[in-house]
Symmetry: C2
Subunit: 239 residues, 2 copies
DNA sequence: CGGTCTCTTGATCTTGTTCAACAAGTGTGG
DNA sequence: CCACACTTGTTGAACAAGATCAAGAGACCG
């Protein structure tokens, strides 16, 4: 998470004037996919962003229980792959929904590009990528039971605080229960009940305006019900 | 949406070496807020990003029904305001959860920064900002009833297709019902039921692998139940 | 034409919301 | 210093949206 961030300088390549911002323009396509083909896979080294020229692409993440979580559908003109900017590797899978043509935009990791004092690439891109990933994580979190949502939230806060050098055992919560509810999309009452439940399980201890984490592993593994039946991952036919 | 995008070049200002990436370092703070103070408001002209130095900030959007949707909590070291990059104005509200110090990073809209052929700022930043907003919208969407989620999804797809010059009346859906479900976080059966319901209301007509939109206004206004009681917006005491 | 998917519809169950009441904490003023 | 108001957090009971289980209807394809 706090790993040395790589920076990117991106150059269009092939016949893609201005990142293919228009629709037409014929040739020099970088990738052609059939329905079900993978454009990239979570974990792949990210050398590029992709602009959809024709067809359609979906991006998704696999929940740890095997359930598929779709993050977006991309139609022609839209750009896929922003999640990779921060770490230089994709975080989601991307798959063609039908025959699809894409334009590849090479992104070479490059140290601090514009050396004119402007710090556009320096940390900004990293922050941007983190924001995208944070939102993606939030969407994934949204797909869990109330108990799991709160458990993850607490771990997340603990992690944030650990990064600041504070103890990750005692998590201070500057926000009200209602705020947590509006963040996790739970009624205030449910948030309260889940705090009580986690404390009852012996996983946390409520302590002033924060909580003490007693069993982080249990919190992380909390998975009472998948909340949504895991269908078979994806497109059945096709490679 | 498709408005001429402004580009940004960002320079640190004040005592913020490397975007305040560390924690300490004393002086020259740009903003100091008390609990409940607004850092910026949705619609404000976005002249800057902010790095949290101490304290805590929440960002939120107001649903059209007045309910508050929290998009994130930001602790020291984190950057607030990325959602504004694309349009030059903030899309969310940001409020201090307690006494908070922030470091301001001025972002002057600047045309196509690095003129060396690299098109980093050219469309990339815009795309990045759009991705952030897309994810934020997705999170907001997540907070609606099944009917509303599907209705919005269809309008979204219609909008995308309209931008491609295709008809926005007939929406082709290249993905399976199950895919829509995994995107909207609904069981396949529920997606199917909602299609049937919307068709029964006369708002859409199912047509091959897509739908014809008969009453876009009704779809947009679809709001059977708020799905979550709207609490009073936010922090009660404090300015 | 049979097999395999996808979509649709019905019945039942679970989770989390909603309504309601109460406890605990904080601050103010008499 | 304590009573009172006000806010935040906790707990109980009833309800509802949507998931799950189950089964059947089309569609597509070899």
């Amino acid at each position: 998470m706090n790993a040395p961030h790589s920076e990117f300088l991106c150059h269009a390549r092939g016949n893609c004037p201005r990142l293919c911002s228009g629709q037409s323009a014929p040739a020099a396509l970088a990738r052609e996919l059939e329905r079900g083909d993978l454009l990239f896979r979570s974990g792949d080294n990210a050398g590029a962003l992709f602009v959809v020229r024709s067809g359609a692409v979906k991006t998704c993440r696999l929940g740890e229980d095997g359930s598929e979580q779709i993050l977006g559908f991309y139609l022609p003109g839209e750009i896929v792959g922003f999640d990779a900017i921060t770490q230089g590797r994709y975080v989601a899978d991307a798959m063609a929904l039908k025959a699809t043509q894409l334009c590849r935009i090479a992104c070479q990791p490059a140290a601090s590009a514009s050396g004119d004092g402007s710090l556009l690439p320096e940390r900004l891109m990293t922050g941007f990528g983190q924001e995208v990933q944070r939102l993606q994580n939030l969407l994934v979190l949204e797909r869990c039971s109330a108990e799991q949502r709160l458990a993850r939230f607490l771990l997340q806060m603990a992690d944030k605080q650990a990064r600041l050098g504070r103890s990750s055992r005692y998590v201070s919560l500057p926000m009200a229960r209602g705020d947590i509810g509006r963040f996790l999309h739970l009624a205030t009452e449910t948030v309260s009940r889940m705090f009580t439940r986690l404390a009852g399980l012996g996983w946390i201890r409520i302590e002033g305006s924060g909580v003490e984490i007693l069993d982080a592993a249990a919190l992380a593994g909390s998975r009472p019900q998948p909340a949504l039946r895991r269908d078979r991952p994806a497109l059945p036919q096709a490679a």
